[in-house]
């Protein structure tokens, strides 16, 4: 198909009413869940994942990408309005966002967050669009040993760069590899680790594992917190204590709406911080495992260091809002680069989107864009216009989102839990999948409680079969000689980079340990 013809087909698909509506719905859901502390885009995507198989690929992807983009900005609404980040990605925004609100600039802070978020997001989306295809062309030239080295490098990065203790990250990744090894051997087709359960022959299905690990465990945590809150309330009532309630710290003094108007001048004054955040976020997003929270903090740090008004950071500076917001949103498109180019999801959200692609019969990898050109080009168009939908919807509905962010957990948990259960069942009409979902939920809950990062577990579960296949293929080509794995400069480069990352992570761990011991 000619490029112009392809573009026309993609445009026609991307601008159908259905795709537009599902993308808007996705953005709306994304901003709402992002604004509600405790819920996140990952959770929403995981819950909706089993349901999207009923939609066409472009509609499904439009909805999921809408949720992803919307949740990135949504997190900043409660961060700025109440000082509570709606998502982990918005944690760095609280520092200046909430103080800007208290200084009487809530509108300026919220709109700065919105514009910088959309700017970062568009830059990142364009990076994906222009980088994915050339990188995929390079990936096609890689053989099994180079791919194995790339898998090792990615797994290391995912385990080490995910927030929390790197050792726990590696532990979680190993559990993921084991779960991924259950079922058919990817080379010979013989079954293993099935414990005599026939239904395990096909391995654990992606949907119940993802939804269980991400969503059920998070809902468990929310449920536990709600139980604790309730027992504290009951205890206070028993002691006849009245709820003091109001937070005097959050009240603005001398609010003058005339001085709190967003303008082009305000946007331009934060443009440098926005661009710093956008570039930092795009780079970090493209690294497997790094994530939006790290991007937010690094963008904030860099923005502060490179700002002329660095002394204002931490006191309600709008640049301090723009940099982290641009940074976390700029991970959106970039985190899909490894997925689209190599078939390696770089983040938990990318893994979920990869799972959605697979459910639609599209296999992420170097040939994905070429083999599914009309759908993928339509997706690229949706990727760009969803950012503008985010801008428009947020402009219109900002007060509503601030109200929605106050919905109590006790009303949300039961509904979201039922959605997860029924959604997982309806994906394959399999009762066994429901048991897997609940088991994974318990496993995820226990690991989450002990601060094991769950991203490496899920990503290793997805990458495991590919890693094994490339390792065994390489060894077959090398006639069993292990040194064959290292006889390639590209592979050696990946191993060298992996070793450098391990060394850096170990240094960081020891430094952290030393600090703790000195306290």
């Amino acid at each position: 198909m000619e490029f112009v013809e392809l573009l026309q087909t993609a445009m026609a698909e991307a601008f159908t009413l259905g795709v537009l509506l599902f993308s808007i719905l996705g953005v709306f859901v994304g901003i709402t869940v992002g604004a509600i502390p405790g819920l996140s885009g990952d959770l929403a995507i995981a819950i909706i994942l089993p349901i999207v198989f009923t939609l066409s690929p472009t509609r499904a992807l439009g909805m999921l990408i809408g949720i992803y983009k919307g949740s990135m900005f949504g997190g900043s609404i409660s961060a700025i309005s109440f000082g509570v980040p709606g998502t982990a990605a918005a944690a760095a925004t609280v520092e200046d966002g909430y103080k800007a609100k208290k200084r009487g600039q809530p509108r300026k802070a919220l709109f700065t967050a919105l514009y910088s978020s959309v700017t970062g997001d568009i830059i990142s989306s364009l990076t994906l669009i222009f980088l994915a295809l050339p990188m995929a062309k390079i990936a096609i030239m890689l053989g099994p040993r180079e791919f194995f080295a790339l898998y090792v490098f990615s797994l290391m990065l995912i385990a080490l760069l995910t927030q929390g203790n790197p050792l726990k990250g590696i532990g979680a990744a190993v559990i993921g590899l084991l779960l991924g090894a259950i079922g058919m051997d990817p080379m010979a087709g013989s079954t293993r680790l099935t414990f005599g359960i026939p239904v395990l022959r096909g391995g654990l299905q992606l949907v119940p594992v993802l939804v269980g690990i991400f969503a059920i465990s998070e809902l468990g945590m929310q449920f536990k917190n709600a139980l604790i809150k309730k027992s504290e309330k009951d205890e206070a009532a028993r002691r006849n204590l009245t709820d003091q309630g109001s937070d005097s710290e959050g009240i603005m003094e001398h609010y003058d709406p005339a001085k709190d108007k967003m303008s082009v001048r305000v946007y331009l004054s934060t443009l440098k911080a926005t661009l710093i955040g956008s570039l930092t976020g795009t780079f970090i997003g493209a690294l497997p495992g790094a994530g939006s929270s790290l991007a937010g903090f690094m963008s904030y740090g860099l923005g502060k260091r490179l700002s002329k008004n660095s002394s204002e950071f931490g006191k309600g500076s709008l640049e301090g809002v723009a940099a982290p917001e641009a940074g976390n949103s700029a991970t959106c498109g970039a985190s899909l680069v490894p997925l689209f180019a190599f078939g390696i999801p770089g983040s938990a959200t990318a893994a979920l989107i990869g799972a959605a692609l697979m459910m639609q019969g599209i296999t992420p990898g170097p040939r994905m864009i070429e083999e599914n050109a009309p759908v993928m080009y339509a997706f690229f168009i949706v990727l760009v216009y969803a950012s503008f939908m985010n801008l428009g919807l947020s402009h219109l509905l900002l007060p509503l989102y601030a109200k929605l962010s106050m919905i109590k957990t006790k009303f949300l948990v039961p509904v979201v839990f039922m959605l997860a259960l029924l959604g997982t069942y309806s994906a394959r009409n399999s009762v066994f999948d429901v048991w897997v979902l609940l088991t994974m939920g318990v496993l995820g809950y226990i690991l989450r409680k002990h601060k094991f990062p769950l991203g490496p577990l899920v990503l290793a579960f997805i990458l495991g079969p590919g890693t094994e296949r490339s390792l065994r293929q390489a060894l077959v080509i090398g006639r069993g000689d292990v040194s064959y794995l290292f006889a390639s400069p590209i592979a050696l480069g990946f191993y060298g980079a992996a070793i450098a990352f391990i060394a850096a992570a170990m240094l960081a761990v020891n430094k952290q340990k030393g600090k703790k011991e000195n306290l």
Partner: protein, 156 residues
Amino acid sequence: MKKRSLKGYYSAERAFGIIFILLGIAGLYDTLYGDWSSGPGYGTTFFPQLTFILLILIGLIFQFYFRENKTKIIDWMDLKTIVLLICTGAVYFQLVRRLGLITSSFLYCTALIAMLTSKPAGNIRKIVIPGLIGTIIIWLLFTKLVVLILPRPLLF
């Protein structure tokens, strides 16, 4: 003196380490002596063996690295959460296939909201109305958007 029983283990991470080591040894033993079929090259067992060895190594590192965390692997509140949310979730799923979607969703939703509400007896409206709204959302989603495969009477 520090407690060393698994119930009140003085480092949850070290307990995790022990679980990893035991799991790794059991898995490795099974790959060596269990009923595994062979495959091309290094065979079917090769990758799982590597993973089990990695698991044992991580377990050993956990023993040396983590020392001071005193949290239990599972405390009373966690057990309560797992039983009240996740186990009752299984009951809810079975109920859907017997009592139908609306009835069981309403019962489950209101029961969970009641569990999380102080003085539920005095707040009946605050429990029933959200339960009803939740049920309507679920019903609309799974009968109109996603077709849940259930016998027709059970969809109501």
